[in-house]
């Protein structure tokens, strides 16, 4: 199978601060991200706030240039020269449905905008027909076409955002916490819509979330990130039933469960996330890990093997 998107050692560093006398610090927001997504599959990226999930989304959607590493979308190397060509291959849906739609534009104009920019020679009639078709596809009514975003609820707005993202018929959709701003009943509607669309249009999803129960519902593969680095990769079954990295284990143990299970041990992580300005040598998770040994503090473990986990003493 051909991968729709493949990334090799993707990294993004930011320089911060740095006055007249001080050297600027470097925040390594993302390092060594390597992954592939095939058509019709979903890669879920999970991790706590500040672990580089959204930076990854910004790199894959060609908003920012990676500091290092390479990104291939649909077989084309994603360098800034090729960005224009690749725009229609990757689109994004944001977390906050209230901020992601332009309040001054009608729904019709919002949906038509990507076509107007990328297919300037398409006749206006065809463009409108396509926008109306897409509106129907995401489960909205034709009369919504002429309304303004403030007349819609969060769930409806998120549907509009999905429709806009699909206007260019992309092959990869980056979903940056698409449901975490919605309430629970709407979450499942939007998720089911996304799964339905994936099946119909053979889309690849890069699904960014911190909600593990949502990930369990939609993902095929899961990548767990910690402090800008992927620490565990695997299929959904591997990661959820047999987590190898202690961090993954801790994350999973923190998911609320519907079954009362008094025996279940909740792993409580001690300490704070280290500052991304001064990532410790060795395993970045070592300061919070309950089984860290001297080796962990000195050498950084690499991702390796069939179900890779960046840990010297993996579980299971």
């Amino acid at each position: 199978m051909n991968a729709v998107v493949s990334a090799e050692g993707l990294a993004r560093h930011y320089e911060v601060g740095g006055g007249l006398f001080s050297k600027p610090g470097v925040v390594k927001a993302l390092s060594e991200a390597t992954f592939q997504i095939e058509a019709g599959k979903t890669l879920a990226v999970v991790g706590e706030s500040g672990c580089g999930k959204s930076t990854l989304a910004r790199l894959v959607t060609l908003i920012e240039e990676p500091t290092a590493g390479s990104l291939n979308i649909d077989g084309i190397e994603a360098t800034p020269d090729n960005w224009d060509r690749l725009r229609s291959h990757v689109q994004i849906v944001f977390q906050d449905p209230y901020g992601s739609l332009n309040l001054r534009h009608r729904i019709g104009a919002i949906l038509e905008e990507p076509l107007k920019i990328n297919r300037p020679d398409m006749p206006a009639k065809e463009r409108q027909a396509k926008a109306r078709e897409m509106l129907e596809l995401v489960g909205l009514r034709p009369e919504h076409f002429d309304r303004f975003p403030h007349m819609f609820s969060g769930g409806q707005r998120q549907r509009i955002a999905v429709a806009r993202a699909l206007m260019l018929e992309p092959k990869l959709l980056v979903l940056d916490e698409p449901v975490s701003a919605l309430d629970l009943s709407i979450q499942s509607q939007v998720l089911n819509l996304l799964l339905d669309l994936q099946e119909r249009l053979d889309l690849a999803y890069l699904f960014i979330s911190h909600d593990l129960s949502v990930v369990r519902h939609v993902a095929d593969d899961v990548a767990v990130m910690y402090l800008g680095r992927p620490v565990e990769f695997g299929t959904k079954e591997q990661v959820f039933s047999n987590p190898r990295h202690p961090y993954t284990k801790a994350l999973l143990s923190a998911t609320p469960s519907t079954e009362p299970n008094p025996d279940k041990m909740r792993i409580k992580l001690e300490g704070e996330l280290p500052s991304p300005l001064a990532v410790p040598d060795g395993c970045p998770f070592a300061p919070r890990c309950w089984k860290a040994k001297t080796k962990c503090r000195e050498q950084r473990p690499e991702l390796m093997g069939e179900h890779p986990a960046a840990c010297w003493y993996p579980e299971g």
């Binding site: 906050d96 901020g99 332009n102 990507p114 920019i117 990328n118």
Partner: protein, 305 residues
Amino acid sequence: MADVSSSTNTTPTDAATARPGRFKEFWRYFKENRGAVIGFYVFVFFLIVAIFAPLLAPFDPSSQNRAATLVPPFWQSGGNWTYPLGTDPLGRDMLSRLIHGARYSFLVGTVVVILAATGGILTGLVAGFAPKWLDTIIMRIMDIILSIPSLLLALVLVAILGPSLLNAMIAIAIVLQPHYVRLTRAAVMTELSKDYVVSAKVAGARLPRLMFVTVLPNCLAPIIVQAALSFSNAILDVAALGFLGMGAQPPTPEWGTMLAEAREFILRAWWVVTFPGLAILVTVLAINLMGDGLRDALDPKLKRS
């Protein structure tokens, strides 16, 4: 929350206008402020007077009547109904001059606001989108302009360009422009961090489109308020320049110039200075009240649901 309730309230009542008109909503908020509504009506009254000045004025504003100089208003002894508000030292009808003066005030307000707003919005947009060094250069220049007392700067500019109404307008537009630059830049910067701008970028929108189609319409509310307030500022500043002899030149019936011409007669004939002064006061007050109402109605932070 407010969005949902307002749309459900209006849809069943009126199917034809299912969309709650933005203007209707605006008027609902605007009307709550009584001062603003009064200001608005006064403004409209002056606007009508300015438009129909030649029809309303009983005399030509610059025709002199040597037989009737410094005639007092009709209610004072010696006054008559031919000249309801009296005449000036050259025998020109005060009422006609005031009515024609309204034209100049509105001309000045409109031209200055258009000049200052266009320049200011464009510069502000550029500063908001520009890399940091260009932004810094633009904003420091604006700070320099702001640090000089505005009337003084206008005086200097008029002294360089030569005293005339047009030059006074240009000078005042330059003086007022930094306010627009700052306002636009601040609004642009808040909008730029929002996701809809990023999604327009992901869709491939280029800089001009991002600036004018995506971001600018969302920044307009504070700019409209600023425009209303600087309209009155412009009238006031042009009157001040006229009073100092640097604005409109006699015999133009501009209110500030009228004040200056009649200055020496203050003690003998109070009406020659009082009426132009009152005209300036009422217009400026009305526009300021209206501007406050506009701000209340357009600023989402002050909105109650």
